[in-house]
Every structure is written in C-alpha cells, then in structure tokens.
Point group: D2
Chain length 270, copies 4
C-alpha cells in the first residue's frame, strides 16, 4: 500500500558499477581506501565533503570522548544478549545501541537542539545571557530537563567536557555554540537552584556545531562511538564472560512484592 | 535464577572515579581525547594497546572500505525503520546493524575463520596449496560456501579487496593470511569450477589478521563501518525521505499467490 | 556509576523456586498452562488479574485486527534482515518490531493518549463535542496530526476499525472512549477540512480503554500482534525467499543524484 | 546491486484492496476479527489453515508456559533499555527479543531439530532407543549440548515441561516426538553421566511437532510469548522503575582488573 507522500526519489551518497564504487563522488578504492582515516570518511559520508584538519580532530575527539565509560546499561544489555545468543554478535551490538536514548548516552542530540535554539533566537545580537535565560525558563515551564548538564558520577565537572572545550579553543573553532554552552552552565545554578556542570553530551554538540557538523547527525556520534566500545566488550565477553554474573546480581537486587501462597519461599537466586 | 557457570568476575576495559575515567589504563580526558584518532581508540579498546602506524592505517583502510555501498539491504532496513519510527534514530541504526549477518556484510568473520584454519593447519610448513585445498574440500563436503570470495556485482574482482592487499604490501604487513587469501583465490576455479575473486570481506581478515587484530573482533569492523554509513543515510532520510518509496517499490515487485474469493481485485499498490 | 534515583526495588510479576513458578500469584504449571489462553495470559501479565470474557474477546479482536497487512515496512525490514542474517531469527523479528513507531503501526498509543485527554477534560460532563473540538484544535496549533484517523489505502473507512467498534457494542463494553472516537470522526472534516475516518490504530485504544486495559501498555498490542505476523513471514522467507528481490526492486526505484566523473555509468542493478 | 538468486516472487499470506483485507484467504474484518482468538490467528498465519481445538489448546499452552520467568536476561535488557531510552518502547522490546538466542530461551528450535532428526532416522521402525542413542552420541562427538534438557533452577524436573506432556496426552496428540523426548530423557544419564530432565524448551517442540506445527516456526513460540512478558515488564518499568537499580547492582558485582596508575581509587559505584 502507498504510505506517505515523498517527492524525492534519489540519493546522493553512493553509486557503483562493476569496476568502481563512488562514494560522495570519490572513487572508493582508488581515492579513499588507504588515503583517508575512518573519521574523515564519516565526515565525508555525512556532509559530502572532506573535513579540514580542525574538523577532523574535533570529530575524532568527540568520538574518543563518548565511546567508553565502563559497565553502563548499554554495555550490560549487549553483554547479557551475547551470553544468551552467542550466534549473533550483531544482535548484541544492536541491543547495546538501543540503549542510546534520550536519558542515557543519546542526549547529545537534545543538547544540540537546545544550543541551536538559543543560537537561532540570539542571532548575531550577542545577548546570550538574556536569550539563554528565556530558553532555560521555557524548558523548565514545560517540565523538560536542560540536556547536556549534570552527571551522576562527575559532580564537580565532567573531565571529558572540559577537555573538548579546551581543544575547540586550541583549534580556533570555538564559537557561538561553545559560548552558549558556557553561558548556560554559568546561569543554571541561579535558574534551577542546582550546580549542574556541562557534561560530555553537552560539550559534543557545542564543539561540533561550531565546527560545522550537522545537527541532525549529532546522535550518530554517541551511536558510532559506543559501537566501538561494544566491539571491545563483546570480545571480552567471548573470552572472559560476565554476562550471567551481572544478570544474577541484578536479579538478586530486586525483591518480589506480588502475591504468593502462604509459606512460599522464593529461590535465593530467583 | 543462576544461569551458566562463569569463573571470572572482572573486566579490564575501563574504570572511573569522580575526577578521572581510565580506559585501558590511560586517563581518557588528559591522555586520549584530542590526542589519538577514533581508529586508534578502537584498536586500544579492542586489544589493550595503541596501534603502530601500519596497524592504524590498515584498520582505517578496512573501515573505509566496507562502510558504504549504496542502498543495500541493511541501509534499506534502516531507512524504512526511520520512516516508520522517526522518534528513535537508535532503532533505525539497530535495524540496519541486524542485517550485518552471515550472508551479507558480516562474512568477514567467517572468512577470518577460514584463513585462520588454513594457517593453523599449515603451521610454518609453507605447504599452503596442499592445506588450502584440504580446507576448501572440507567446506564443500559440508555444503558450506567458501567465505570471502565472489561478489554479485564486482564479478571481475572487488576493487576494494585489491586495494587492501596492495596497501598491506606497501606497509610491509602482508604475511601468511594474505598469502593464504591469494592462494585460495588461485585454487578456487579448479576446486569449485567457478571464477571467484577475493572480495572485501575476504580481504579484511587477511590484512587485519596479518596486522595482529584479533579474530574474535573481526565482525566489529563491518558493524562499526556500516554504522557510519547508516548515520549518513539516516541524515539524508530526514532531509530527503525515500523510505516509503522504497517500500512501495518492493511490495509492488511481489505478487500474491494465496487464496482469494472469485473476482477479488488487489489494490495496485498493495 | 549510579544513574537515576529509583525508590522501588521490587517487581510484582513473577517469582519462583525449584518446584514452582508463580506468575501474578498463580502457579504457572498447575493453574495456568493448559487452562487459560495466551490472550488471557497477556491480560493477566499486564494487569495482574484474569480478564472477563468480554475483556478477553476484545483483546483477542484487537490482536487479530492489527497483526497482518501484507508487505508493509516492518515486514519488509524483517524479511530483508533474515535474508542477510539467516543465523538469527530473533534479529529479523527485532528489526521488524523496530518499525512499530509513531508513524506506522505504533500509533495506537498516541491515539490512546488523545482519547484519554478528551476523556479527562470532559469528566462526566458529556460535553464531548466541545472538549474534543478544543483538543483537536490544540493538536493542530502544535502542528501535530490527530492520531488514529485516516489511512492511505482504506480511504472510505478502515474495515477493521468498524468491526472493532461493532464488537465493543455487541459485548456491552463500548463507553466513553468509543464515544469520543466517534465524536472526533464526525468533527474532523469541519475542523481539518479533510475526511479522515477512524482507523484500526484509533479503534484499538477506544475499545481497550473502555474495557479497562491500561493506557501505558497499549503499544504492546501492535507490537505483540505484529510479532505473530513476522513469525509467519519469516517462515515463508525460509521456504520461498523474496528478501533480496524486494531489496533489488527498492534500490532500482531510487536514482543517484550525487557527483560522478563525466561518463560514469552506474550498473543497472545498483 | 543484485544479491542472491531467488526464483519466487510471490507471497501467500495477505493481500488487500480499499474495502477488504484478506489474510490466508479469509476476510479479516468480516470473518476473523471478533471470531477467532489470537492464538488461532497465529496458527492460521503460520500454517495457512485454522487449528483444531487440540492444536489451539497446545499452542496456547506452550505460549503460556514460556512467556514469563522473572527477571531473566532478556527482561533485564529490555528494562535497562527502556530506562535509558523511554521514547521508544519498541526499542526496549527489540532489545529483549534479541536475547532469545541459542543458549537462553531460544533453544526450542534447536530441540525441535534434535527431535526431528531422531524421528527422521527412526522412520516407522520404533527403534527409538537405538536411534536416539546414535544421535545423542553424534551431538556429543561434535561437542554440542543436547538441547531441551537440564535447567539451572528446576533441577528435579521443569514443572512446565511435565505439564505440557501431560496435556498432550490428555488431548490425544502425544505421538512420536513426545516419545522421543521421553526416551532421550531416560537415556541421558547413562550417555552423559548427568541427570538432565526435559525442560520447557524441549517439551515445546515435542508437543507442537506432534500437533503438526512447522519446525521452522518453532522459534516463534518463545519469541512471541516473551514479547507478552516484555509488555508487562515495560508497563511496570514505567510505573515502578528498577532498570537503573539493576544496572548498578550488576556493575558493582564486577571488579576492574586492568591497568591503573598507582593509588587510583575507583568510585564505589563504578
């Protein structure tokens, strides 16, 4: 059945024939393989052009920053899934990626929308304090958290965020979005009553939007970065499995408070 | 309930405290972000040590080689999924990754097992022709295809495979696994009666195993590479949607041959 | 690291010991297996109590209604995925389920929220026309479609929706949510300028909310129903594969409009 | 590009026009909705014909049996994923389904292949002991576990398996596959040196293959059943969240044994 109305019927990313694969107009085998890095290739795929050295270094830095942070929920989901279904590594990676959501790991995109909204409203006016205050208040009026601030472990400041902002400054890329990120960090204690330092998911869009990376592809950064981490964890899970150990510990932490016949004794491990 | 017997209860990839995140023993914010590339980070995550320049270049080359090849099934699944569920980019990426299987895209791992089996049986003997012939015959006796050879479009040879092998030679990394890949390519016509050139999924394990990348993480290369391509396609899908157009074309290509009441006329679009 | 603040640390669904599995307080093996239907079990799992005959019949009817509608995007994604990765049926089912989103198939939940908002604002007042008009206008002011109305194929009315509403009336269950669904259908032409008949995703929450099924589990109905359909399609894909045929047709429908060297001729199949 | 050679280009499950949806030749709205149960619909979708009462009762029983068993890995993965990505219930369900693999939950299909192999080799001979012994020995020679036997919690026998076999006998459906399942259970202690009672994943194929359900759709039973359980758990997760609590408990159970600078103190929660 015909669903939706779609006017375009073309794609501009790649085409091929028997001898040649073109990617964004470049001959993949003769021009790209062995010549550019994977990060340059990502920039090319997403934007259609190769990055400048500063753009490449910032994209590398954000991918390195968000890839790995221990046994977080997405990694646990992937390792549990591989333990249960070792025949399909791709399934375990997919399970991990599905945890890249609005609450954990995936908030870089939401933070990018926040920064972009302040930037759009401020225009070239420079009145960042006023505009940022308005936007923060509109989020709070709608009951929405301010994305990109606060961290359950790194309460005094997320070291990854600080390093990314430093790097953007070193490379001469820091611009309006970084300024907005810093402005909001300064204003938040008085607007929300809480100290909320910029976190890695706030710093990533700040530096990448200033570098010219597209807003609608921001979520790809944590998604791709975490996939690298999942590959490492799933190799370790094959060699030194902990999936079922984590599952047993998780289930022991939760009680059963539903109905049961008098005298029913749950198994200790259940 | 207690599932499985697992002796280890530790992980060696990452740990952290409020001020510092350690990844493979390195201070993430102070030593890695802004210093190493994402590809170097992947090698570090997977193996525990930073790569040599040649290792890094080969890993970059394989990731660039396998990332993108147009509107293949995994990309279509992802774009269809985003069209139906635009609220969850991670779901569309996961749907694409699930198509990285044993038949399409994911055969680098199977090809790696083939090369590793020949290498293990040959030892240092150098009798690659004899051993490769034996292993090919054992695959065929079991009804298994030889993974890493043949391509539906690039019948005269996969230009990505040729480039990867050239690069491994240039970098001085080409060793026994590349030799086995070439040996099998030479032997296959007489053993199978078909011309089957080495494809990209055969070349990736050949060069990476020679470079010291672990066999059990080989599938991570197409998985990670394709994720980069999916990010680009899903950006394009947001800006110039074709998901439903592809779906309509696909359903029009298939007839209904089940039961129907006399005179029933299916919708043309159904 | 500690993420989130969660006060509860218990679950009320199931517990077990070596001899017995309890589900919602019932002995699974001795009381439920062989005694109740799967649909009754679903109601028990979700609500904690067994359904009345009318509740069971309505839940059965909604699951039957939404399970299958041919080669729709979710089914295509699943069949493409199985063709590429036949080693993991669960991966193909997951790929199909990921297309149960806000645009296609998953809109029963959004429609339920619409009906529940009108019901909550109307209270017992009976002023459904006034309140429904207000809520429709608020959706339109926010640029949101009215979920549960209109269908690309069934323009004169979705036969599944009509049957579900009839059945709710026959069973004496039709109440305020059904009344709201009908009211909105009557008002929409004047409020939107378009004839938009109630569709299956609007009828499902109308009848289930009137039957006492919880709003926050509504999306489970299309998800579970479509899983049944996916099992059938994936059996057919194993026996009479069409995955790659659909993929080829889909890619042929899309042109390449990116850069290419002068004279480059794409493969006809690319 | 053209992948694979596929001769069929039709599907026999469903077709439609503006007024009517046909499913397996039946008018969905006029003949099926409100008339048949969801379990009957599943049988119809999968096999093309409506089930007998005994077939329906056995399929209901197997779905009820395997749906729910507490906070097992697939449920944990789904609840973790919803906690991280509450915007996409379908993503959390997909993450849970991906854990329906060869080791946990998904072994009904493997057990079905085992039973079917013994049945095929035995033919009508009735020499089940001899043939089952041969097949068990061939599995063990290949290092494969015998699927469908043993359970980490229900060591004295899985109460669900016993109930399913009783029910098949009551309904007069128990035939050769049930006989093989019982034969293998009797032989396993001497062939393997371990007491391994038939578990639910062994009983499901035994009773369903005897009832005429297709082998290649067996995995659909745990997949569909677990989806019902996931819907219930994800409703509870929305109302009484435990996802992050489980994640914290799981990560606390695992030590870090990689490199660290002298004196580095991990966070207690990390």
């Amino acid at each position: 059945m015909k669903i939706g109305r779609q006017e375009h019927h073309s794609s501009a990313i790649s085409t091929s024939n028997e001898a040649t694969i073109l990617v964004r107009g470049h001959d993949l085998a003769r021009e790209l393989i062995g010549t550019i890095s994977f990060t340059e290739h990502l920039w090319l795929l997403v934007t259609g052009t190769l990055p400048s050295p500063a753009q490449r270094r910032l994209l590398d830095a954000t991918l390195v920053a968000i890839a790995e942070h221990g046994l977080v929920p997405s990694v646990q989901a992937a390792r549990l899934t591989l333990a249960a279904a070792p025949e399909a590594l791709q399934g375990a990676v997919a399970a991990g990626i599905l945890g890249c959501g609005s609450v954990v790991l995936g908030s870089a995109e939401a933070a990018g929308r926040f920064l972009a909204e302040v930037a759009a409203r401020a225009g070239g006016s420079g009145a960042l304090d006023t505009v940022a205050t308005e936007v923060v208040r509109s989020y709070r009026a709608a009951g929405r958290p301010i994305p990109g601030y606060g961290h359950p472990l790194h309460k005094g400041g997320d070291p990854r965020a600080q390093r990314l902002l430093e790097l953007a400054a070193e490379l001469g890329v820091a611009g309006q979005h970084v300024a907005i990120a810093r402005t909001a960090e300064r204003l938040l204690p008085q607007l929300t009553g809480r100290e909320l330092a910029l976190n890695v998911s706030g710093a990533i869009p700040a530096v990448l939007l200033d570098a010219g990376y597209p807003l609608l592809a921001l979520k790809g950064v944590p998604l791709l970065a975490r996939t690298a981490s999942l590959v490492a964890h799933l190799l370790e899970e094959q060699q030194r499995p902990i999936g079922f150990l984590m599952s047993n510990a998780a289930s022991r932490a939760i009680d059963y408070d539903g109905e049961a016949p008098p005298g029913f004794k749950p198994s200790e491990e259940a």
